[in-house]
Amino acid sequence: MTASSATARRVALGLIGLVFAVPIAAMVAFSLRSADGSGHDLNHWLAIVDPENERAYRNLVEGVTNSLVLAVVAAVLVLVLLVPAMVLVHLRYPRLARPLELVCLVPITVPAIVLVVGLAPVYSVVSRVAGSGAWTLALAYGITVLPYAYRAVQSDLAGTDLRTLTEAARTLGAGWPRIAARVVVPTLRRGLLAAAFITVAVVLGEFTIASLLNRVTLQTALVQVSRSDPYAAVIFALLALAFAFVLLVAIGRVGTRGPGSSVISPAPLRKARP
């Protein structure tokens, strides 16, 4: 590539970056507007931490708390249900790898707005069995994160020779519990960590299912607050976006094992097929 082409590419990238910075900058400017609209100050930010406004933001606090609980429960679901199934298929049933991948990618084709139509009756049963605790929504979130979590773990599974490692451990006399704790988890720690982080990011951003099942989460509370106090909503949205960005940067640091194993790409991971 010539020097002029490299410059052109940098200019194009810079321009697109600038345009994309406008809404984020506008959010910051919007949140700094003074009450009379004439200038800029920190009042809206201070109002967030002012104990006097605690009642006004009670809903928001509840939403944040619920979302954090949901994020943790959904991450546990992924680690307890999806990961063992993936490891088992990888080690013992390679022929099931393709069906498993298809199942995990279904939530891309069946979007949340469609899924929620069928989840409504399911949840009327769930709330009878398990109560209407906020955490129960995590059962649905465990499904919506499947494509992301699957990719995070699969890219790691494909990059390691777990089969040989577990066979070696068995030859040396280790039982399966010991193999799980001492071989599988340490070997896949990048994938597991990435899967957990991406689950947290998806759950904190999820709105569709929570809103249509009338649950209070970070996103539904944000929409509600935005009706009465758009400044608070914009500030919390900025913070949530920043938090998601930090999570994704962290995934970028730990979650990939060389090029072509992007955790976030919606493309099927055919290359990773065993």
Binding site: L13, V114, G260
Partner: protein
């Protein structure tokens, strides 16, 4: 994992005769597929069952009898208009998103692939593409809403009223910019692997054979990237078609696009005789999504030929 493994271990001897599933090779291992049951049950209860319920309710009337009446909703003018609007918004934002995103990918090749900036751009792209939803709606309300920073700046400094012909932001046209804002990053995520798959050697080969850079672009780059570009375009269309959060946060009244029609149908579920409208709409939507995603995976298979 541990309980599963333990169960599998303890049944080693007992199962050697009954084990025939999944291991016709005659391995004397226990039915370890038991370990798959927790995940299978979970998927059945929270993915398969909701899918069947969502798609099935369109075919059932209020008394539980099979009927095609529910599906007839898909032919109503209001619903057809919503599908049209959805297709228009998805089409426009997919095309703009794909073109701008492809330029961004070309720009990104100027950066070191393992560099800090690339990492940050990738992370920002996935935040905006996949986890923004409601927050992006707020971002654009703060930018080009009635009280938005850019709206007010244009009005007070330049005397330009972007809402002179009516406030279009809280209607379907208001979805275009926010949607493009998450379509471009999604294009970067999906199209970038194809762009990095272009080998510099191909350009050298063209140069050795006396070809120009334009010939390299027209005869090598375009044919190699075309399937990936069209595939990504389809994925972007599907993404916009199925996205709900941004639209719901911007348009609080009315049901101008299909996901908002489903919202209206779910919220007014108590209206007699309209119980299965949401199911019929969901079915219509899934049909569109299945067609798009099937084409996408076909094209994806072609794309991967060049990515080894």
């Amino acid at each position: 994992m541990t309980t599963v493994a333990r169960r599998a271990g303890s049944t080693t001897r007992a199962s050697s005769t009954s084990d025939g599933v999944g291991s016709p090779g005659g391995r004397r291992r226990p039915p370890a597929w038991w370990g798959l049951t927790p995940f299978a049950l979970y998927v059945l209860a929270f993915l398969v069952l909701p899918c069947l319920l969502a798609l099935g309710t369109g075919f059932v009337d209020g008394d539980g009898r099979f009927t095609f009446d529910g599906i007839a909703v898909l032919g109503e003018p209001g619903v057809l208009r919503a599908f049209g609007s959805s297709a228009l918004v998805s089409g426009v934002t997919a095309v703009v998103g794909a073109v701008v995103g492809a330029v961004a990918c070309w720009g990104l090749t100027a950066l070191r692939p393992d560099g800090l900036v690339r990492g940050l751009v990738d992370s920002a792209a996935s935040v905006l593409a996949q986890f923004g939803g409601v927050m992006l709606a707020f971002a654009f309300t703060a930018t080009i809403g009635i009280q938005g920073v850019v709206t007010q700046l244009l009005l007070t400094r330049f005397g330009v009223d972007i809402f002179a012909d009516g406030v279009w932001f809280y209607q379907v046209p208001g979805l275009l910019l926010p949607y493009i804002y998450f379509q471009v990053p999604l294009m970067v995520i999906t199209f970038m692997p194809a762009v990095t798959g272009l080998r510099p050697q191909w350009q050298e080969a063209v140069a050795t054979l006396g070809g120009t850079r334009r010939q390299h672009f027209a005869r090598v780059v375009v044919p190699v990237l075309a399937p990936a570009f069209v595939g990504s375009l389809l994925l972007l269309f599907a993404n916009a078609f199925s996205s709900y959060a941004t639209a719901a946060a911007i348009i609080s009244q009315g049901a101008q696009i299909v996901p908002l029609q489903i919202r209206a149908a779910l919220v007014s579920e108590t209206v007699l005789g309209r119980e299965n409208v949401a199911g019929a709409l969901a079915l219509g939507m899934v049909v569109v999504m299945v067609v798009l995603m099937s084409l996408y995976s076909l094209l994806q298979r072609r794309t991967e030929r060049w990515q080894r």
